[in-house]
């Protein structure tokens, strides 16, 4: 049977394979090569060794500061999104009428794309700040708070859905037993519910981490890095290096490689760290 299927490679794999090669595989390999080159198109690339990597860390590149800002945003966002999402999920797994309506409402912002979302929040926040005669782009703190609000608004509903599924899979016998044994609600949550839904927490933390780290559209629309690139996150910094500054394509590509290494490392460390806390229900 496997042998009969094997001959159908051109039908089953080739279309996806070709598209994947054009869009991802080939560009990935070329991208690594280009990060060691000076170029403006792919064909005129000239090998320069580690020069781009050194230049990436120059003060004037704003790369290190964008990394710092990104880590701050990601940290606050991952913590707040997961706490809110979990709390709302708990609320919506109580015996209440109309939970489906609330679920639908809270999830909706997730469908609105980053560009539209960014401008929507920019208008909202500017309308509030107008009372104090200022705008979101006048101080980095405003942009930071704006990003955190936006990320929460967008991602809480998505994570809530996953947490609800997780909470519903906790065997009721476990929580009942714990309550019969005299545990308080808090103790039951802390020692029974949370350990059992650890796989769900792993997934949600991973998703929020990855989403927030790669944030681009929202950042572009909300502040575009203003003031003075102080609210520029890594993804935006890289795109600006490659397309908005002349002759720095190689530096931009080197930054992208550093970004990839960082993201992959974080993903591995995070998965390992939370997996180790998972228990069998």
């Amino acid at each position: 049977m496997q042998r009969a299927l094997k001959k159908y490679f051109p039908v089953f794999v080739a279309p996806t394979g070709i598209a994947f090669t054009i869009a991802f595989l080939l560009p990935f390999v070329i991208g690594i090569y280009l990060s060691f080159s000076d170029f403006t198109t792919i064909s005129n690339a000239e090998w320069v060794g580690l020069e781009n990597y050194q230049r990436a860390f120059d003060e004037s590149q704003g790369f290190t500061s964008s990394f710092g800002f990104t880590i701050l945003v990601v940290f606050v966002a991952v913590v707040s999104v997961n706490i809110f999402a979990f709390a709302i999920a708990r609320l919506l797994t109580q015996k209440l009428r109309g939970t489906n309506f609330f679920r639908s409402v809270f999830f909706m912002p997730n469908l609105i794309g980053g560009i539209v979302l960014g401008y929507t929040w920019q208008q909202m926040i500017n309308a509030v700040l107008a009372n104090y005669g200022t705008t979101i782009i006048s101080k980095w703190e405003y942009g930071f708070v704006g990003l955190i609000l936006l990320i929460n608004w967008q991602q809480v509903g998505y994570m809530m859905i996953i947490y609800i599924a997780g909470l519903q899979s906790v065997p009721p016998e476990l929580t009942e037993a714990s309550e019969i044994d005299g545990a308080t609600r808090w103790q039951t949550l802390r020692h029974v519910t949370i350990p059992v839904i650890m796989p769900t927490i792993t997934i949600c933390v991973f998703l929020t981490l990855a989403n927030s780290f790669k944030l681009f559209d929202q950042n572009l629309a909300l502040t575009n890095g203003a003031p003075q690139a102080q609210t520029e996150m890594v993804a935006l910094n890289i795109v600006n290096t490659m397309f908005a500054r002349m002759g720095q394509e190689g530096v931009g590509q080197a930054k992208a490689v550093i970004f990839v290494i960082f993201v992959v490392l974080i993903a591995l460390v995070q998965l390992r760290a939370t997996r180790s806390k998972e228990v069998e229900a």
Binding site: V105, F106, M108, A130, W153, I162, T175, I203, V263
Partner: protein, 301 residues
């Protein structure tokens, strides 16, 4: 609206509840919960409502009374909408967004399901290598491949909807193959063996037996891809560019509001509303599948 949402969203399986069976919910605590939930609804709907309200106001009133209702002198009717539409070609953008999304989603679902089936059923070193490459591509930020992809797309004249479909198949394959593979692993081989004995070839076997079984997963994959492709900004902006007619909604929104400092806030609000409307309609029609899809996608992911 409440009625509608209630009907459309099939309850997720009511599994565990915090209250054990037989115990009556405490009315006082429930009252508190409802107050919290209603406040949350206000927070979640607020920004959208804010944009809708202001899209009907004169420019001047938007900056002077941003939180007031559009009544009396403030009411601008559809003026913001007509200005915005005149400046952006918005309806054409909706059309191209729609064409690109539908074609891409159909292509991604069709081909990545076939690829996943092949990878799972034909066990060689290179099919498993391919599987890990697809998984790997899910974690990699777009910026890594952005420059070369755009240059290759340029060389191949991909600055049109069909070119975009090929690129979206390439980028969408990672997650889609991953989700399909997870599902196909669970399909017992005996069903296919029986079909072979009855004289089915691999193609017949796939289309007549596997594909129908895959249907729920297909819906999941289609929804996850549709949400991403409809809202994607950077790829269409870089590949299609601003000089062709195939601009999508995120691209024209960014063009309208991001290009100069002297922006028409009224027109901008109106265009934001028009950009949100199709998504809300899509959501109201298919929210049951969307929410199930998200759960299924995350469990596999």
């Amino acid at each position: 609206m409440i009625e509608h949402a209630e009907n459309a969203a099939e309850p997720l399986p009511e599994g565990n509840q915090t209250l054990s069976a037989g115990e009556k919910p405490k009315p006082a605590r429930n009252g508190f919960f409802y107050v919290v939930l209603v406040l949350l609804v206000v927070v979640f709907i607020g920004p959208i409502l804010f944009i809708v309200i202001n899209s009907f106001k004169h420019k001047f009133s938007i900056s002077s009374d941003p939180f007031a209702l559009p009544i009396g002198d403030m009411w601008a009717g559809l003026q913001n909408y007509t200005t915005g539409l005149a400046r952006t070609g918005f309806f054409e953008a909706i059309l191209w967004s729609f064409v690109i999304t539908v074609l891409s989603v159909a292509t991604v679902v069709f081909f990545s399901a076939m690829t996943a089936y092949y990878i799972i059923r034909v066990k060689t070193w290179w099919t498993s290598a391919l599987y890990y490459l697809f998984v790997f591509s899910m974690v990699i930020p777009f910026q890594m491949v952005m420059f070369p992809t755009v240059k290759i797309a340029d060389m191949l004249h991909f600055n049109n909807p069909l070119g975009m479909v090929v690129l979206y198949l390439g980028f969408g394959a990672g997650l889609s193959v991953f989700i399909f593979s997870g599902f196909i692993k669970g399909i017992p081989l005996e069903i296919e063996e029986a079909a072979y004995i009855d004289g089915c070839g691999p193609l017949q076997n796939y289309f007549r037996i596997i594909l129908p079984i895959l249907k729920p997963t297909t819906v999941t994959v289609a929804i996850l891809n549709a949400m991403w492709i409809w809202n994607d900004y950077l790829l269409p902006y870089l590949v299609i560019g601003l000089s062709t007619r195939y601009k999508t909604i995120p691209v024209v929104v960014q063009m309208l509001v991001g290009s100069n400092g002297n922006r028409d806030m009224g027109a901008m609000m109106a265009m934001l509303v028009l950009a949100i409307v199709p998504i809300v309609v899509f959501y109201l029609v298919s929210q049951k599948h969307i929410i199930e899809g998200v759960v299924a996608g995350s469990v596999k992911g």
